[in-house]
């Protein structure tokens, strides 16, 4: 539903067929420059929601990527070829953001007016203390060669990350109606997931390459 906000042309100006995406005609395959203000969801013809169907995202992406692929426009004017290159980049960026739950949630928060990760760097409650303790536990388990303990920590972290992402999923679609305070809390939640991701990469990293701490 690319024309949902009323600013996009609904029909191709060349063949009058429906536009399935704001940048491609489904009939004559003409390509159009990105209208200003088109978001990643609109570009891919998807509903603006956190709960996207992954298969649909992929299908939309494939169809669109094929339509705007610069290879189809090698015989076209330099201007059209350049447009195809720009659109391809935009389509790739859109799918990269929308296929990753964390980036998708971040993007929905941005569309709702933020705050950005630079503006709010805090995390919920005592998470930093928790992260500090987990880091120490990972380090102790590693230096003691306790792979079972590392595995236990990895499972705990993975569960914490999963729980945080569930909260994100439950709140993401009400962001447009959320207060600034609620959006700040949402940003903190996203920040917490970044810490979990960092810890998870730490717990699974090859010990030979883990010389990143101060400790002997």
């Amino acid at each position: 539903m690319p024309a949902q906000n009323g600013v996009l042309p609904a029909k191709c100006t060349r063949c009058a067929a429906e536009l399935l995406s704001p940048v491609v005609c489904s009939g004559c395959q003409s390509i159009y420059p990105m209208p200003s203000g088109v978001d990643h969801f609109q570009l891919l013809g998807l509903e603006r929601t956190f709960r996207l169907d992954e298969a649909r995202v992929k299908a939309s992406f494939r169809a669109l990527a094929r339509s705007v692929h610069p290879d189809h426009f090698t015989g076209a004017s330099g201007e059209v070829a350049a447009l195809a290159t720009r659109l391809s980049a935009a389509v790739n960026e859109a799918v990269a953001v929308l296929s990753d739950p964390l980036r998708r949630a971040d993007y929905l928060l941005t569309l709702a007016g933020g705050p950005s990760a630079v503006e709010v760097r805090e995390v919920p409650g005592s998470l930093l203390t928790e992260v500090m303790i987990l880091r120490e536990q990972i380090e102790e388990a590693r230096s003691a060669g306790r792979n079972d303990e590392l595995e236990r920590l990895r499972a705990t972290l993975s569960a914490s990350r999963g729980a945080a992402l569930e909260t994100v999923a439950a709140r993401a679609d009400s962001l447009p109606q959320a207060s600034l305070e609620e959006r700040r809390e949402f940003r903190k939640l996203l920040n917490s997931i970044r810490y979990y991701d960092n810890l998870l990469s730490e717990v699974s990293v090859d010990p030979m390459h883990a010389a990143k701490t101060t400790h002997d």
């Binding site: 990760a117 930093l128 992260v131 500090m132 970044r194 810490y195 701490t213």
Partner: protein, 138 residues
Amino acid sequence: MAYSDKIIDHYQNPRNVGSLDGNARNVGTGIVGAPECGDVMKLQIQVDEQDRIVDAKFKTFGCGSAIASSSLATEWVKGRTLDEALQIKNTDIVQELALPPVKIHCSVLAEDAVRAAIADVKQKKEQASPRPAGAAAR
């Protein structure tokens, strides 16, 4: 990227690594983090009766610049009063260690950790010795 000798020295021989008793009334703990890189830094200070910092310890999980920044910060706060320690600016750390621009946030983290530790110990002291209510009216 070329790092200064001072960063490398603090990274390879970090000063004051460790922990103080976080429950002690005269110990302040600051834990700060940088969500973008996942670094966490714990900096603790111990003060005497005159609010002078007599000991400082840190534990940092992060890059070399974050470790060097917190190591330097613990060296600098020792011997200062709390109010003097508040004067330490991240830009001083940047200058001393010649931190590259992409690592300036590490010095910000160290300054934040010092401030958080100071705030923590100040709060503890106020709770331990509340001014008598109505003292001003006497």
